[in-house]
């Protein structure tokens, strides 16, 4: 499965947030969208999942127009974890994760055996099985992020969209979340599309990176092709060296010292 957007223009009134955007994301791959604040990263992610309307262009899921999908039909193939989400603090972890089954259920039906199996799988895959009887407000930031990822996994999507999944988390929870994303992708072949701010993390986990600057695509390719000191200067206005260290797969970004 792949989602393919061509010539997207997104904006509100006079304001144009994104224009001339062509982008393709695939099952089985981790694609990361990076770019400065306000460059339109989240906007693109939302348009690819129909959370936001676009003015021009088209989005296709396996060459079928995204607009022609029923809302539940789409929710069975694409899962989105928005940047902002909330649940009443007393909701139980396993109840919240169960909401991921909504696209498969009628409005009156309860969890059947299949639903229960998928919920159990999602809880175990995200390491939240032990938390299942806790309420959301008893979970730490990292735990609750894993619970939300489990909720979206329960939709059994082919591609998982995560909008800044590590923002607001401390470094250990950030790495934990990245490890989880990588594991899910490698073990179940799920596609992942993320918006990330941390470029080192993008370098490490991505198969492909798309760089956005001022609402337009600046470049795309493998991490090695894309993360260059020239890109850093032109997109972020930051000087840095990309250092290769023997024994490390991903290079390091050494920013110029603050003087």
């Amino acid at each position: 499965m792949e989602i393919n957007a061509q010539g997207l223009e997104i904006g509100y009134g006079e304001f144009v947030a994104v224009e001339g955007m062509d982008i393709t994301v695939k099952k089985g791959e981790i694609t990361t969208i990076i770019g400065p604040n306000g460059s339109g990263k989240s906007t693109v992610l939302k348009a690819l999942t129909r959370l936001l309307k676009y003015r021009k262009g088209a989005v296709y899921l396996d060459s079928r127009d995204l607009a022609s999908f029923g809302s539940r039909e789409l929710a069975r193939r694409v899962g989105v974890l928005p940047q902002r989400h909330s649940a009443p603090p007393d909701f139980k972890v396993k109840d919240l994760v169960g909401y991921g089954r909504m696209p498969y259920q009628k409005w009156y039906s309860k969890h059947n055996e299949e639903d229960k199996k998928v919920i159990e799988w999602a809880l175990k895959a995200t390491g939240t099985w032990e938390l299942r009887d806790k309420s959301i407000n008893e979970c730490s930031g990292g735990e609750s992020q894993r619970v939300w990822i489990a909720t979206v996994l329960t939709q059994q999507p082919e591609i998982l969209f995560l909008d800044e999944p590590t923002t607001y988390l401390d470094i250990s929870h950030q790495l934990e979340t990245m490890r989880l994303v990588r594991k899910l992708n490698r073990e179940s072949g799920i596609g992942v599309v993320m918006v990330l701010h941390d470029l080192s993390q993008a370098l490490e986990v991505s198969d492909r990176i798309v760089v956005i600057k001022g609402g337009r695509k600046y470049s795309e390719g493998t991490p090695d092709e894309v993360i260059t000191s020239r890109m850093m200067r032109e997109v972020y206005g930051v000087d840095c060296d990309i250092l290769r260290i023997p024994g490390r797969r991903a290079p390091l970004i050494a920013y110029r010292e603050i003087s």
Binding site: A75, V78, H85, S86, A87, F91, D95, Y99, M102, W107
Partner: protein
């Protein structure tokens, strides 16, 4: 997993059972007390015997219809408030927010003061006014979907315009305000089985619809984008839930006038008792709403001998301070 689930089910079951028992007890008390007081055995004997007696006449023709109405109205208003709090994702939402009270008030004031010969049709007009105000607010708030903040703000605007019109009308007709005041403060006095039959039809339809909305109400609590990505039609659900809530609230207003605070406070208490999951919270709100309104009405007609205090006033006087108490207590619990 199993045992945990049983524990929470048990808790909800216990709460509901306790509330139902309290409601039954309160109904008995309400049959017994009043300008003529009876003992419980007297009432039960009168109710289950075939002969006519003064006790039976008073209980069956005066007190029972009033008790039934209080139960139906309390249940409907609490359900309406619970649904709206999910629609707006705002704990301060109640049927007043979407213009039900102001719309009904405007219609009733207009009829009572300007077209007094239509007074018997006030319930019909009140219902229509409530529905109209609600539709107007949603039309003003609609812009590629309905956003809760816009609903609340257009509600504030329309409520204030209607409120001003009401005040002006009352100023101009200050000598014939009795009917208007009774309507504005919600009263159950002098109601008969006719109103009970009417409202029981509306309330059953509305409550059944409300129970069918449980899943949507829960999903809306997860945030708009999350709900949307779970395949929920967010704006559609908002309009549907608001429609059911407006229907429930408008039916009560047409029968008993405006009764505040039930729709606001009761869902909060229910949430404290059984949590935010509408599967437990909605039924608890319904029973608790019935209990609270019945208690308020019973208090209102007995606390000062020989005088009736409208149930709307009792609710406001007791509900306000209780709400403040809840706010402070809740703030402490969550560490604020």
């Amino acid at each position: 997993m199993r045992s945990q689930k049983k524990v929470s089910l048990l808790r909800v079951g216990t709460v509901l059972l306790a509330l139902l028992l309290l409601l039954a007890g309160m109904s008995l008390v309400s049959m017994a007390v009043g300008s003529a007081g009876y003992s419980v055995p007297e009432i039960l004997r009168a109710l289950f015997s075939a002969e006519k007696s003064p006790v039976k006449t008073i209980v069956v023709n005066l007190r029972l219809p009033r008790i039934s109405l209080a139960i139906l109205i309390g249940a409907s208003l609490a359900a309406a408030g619970a649904l709206l709090q999910s629609v707006m994702r705002n704990p301060l939402a109640d049927p007043g927010t979407i213009g039900v009270s102001a719309g009904a008030g405007t219609a009733a004031t207009t009829i009572l003061l300007l077209f007094p010969h239509l007074t018997s049709s006030v319930p019909l007009f009140a219902f229509g006014g409530a529905a109209l105000a609600c539709v107007l607010i949603y039309m003003m708030a609609w812009k590629e979907g309905v956003d809760p903040t816009r609903i609340i703000l257009s509600g504030v605007a329309i409520n204030s315009v209607l409120g001003a019109y009401n005040s002006l009308l009352q100023l101009l007709n200050s000598d014939s305000l009795e009917g208007v005041l009774a309507f504005m403060n919600g009263s159950l006095s002098g109601r008969s089985w006719y109103q009970v039959r009417l409202l029981s039809v509306y309330a059953s339809i509305g409550l059944i619809l409300a129970f069918l909305c449980i899943k949507s109400a829960n999903a809306l609590q997860l945030g708009d984008e999350m709900a949307k990505s779970l395949g929920v039609k967010v704006s559609g659900s908002r309009v549907l839930l608001s429609g059911v809530a407006a229907f429930l609230a408008a039916s009560t207003v047409s029968v008993a006038g405006m009764i505040g605070f039930v729709g606001l406070v009761v869902p909060h208490i229910a949430r404290l008792l059984v949590g935010s999951d509408y599967k437990a919270m909605l039924p608890t709100s319904v029973v608790l709403g019935a209990l609270v309104l019945l208690a308020a009405d019973t208090l209102g007609r007995t606390v000062v001998p020989g005088m009736e205090i409208p149930v709307g006033i009792v609710m406001a006087v007791c509900g306000g301070p209780f709400f403040l108490y809840l706010l402070r207590k809740k703030g402490k619990a969550s560490g604020n």
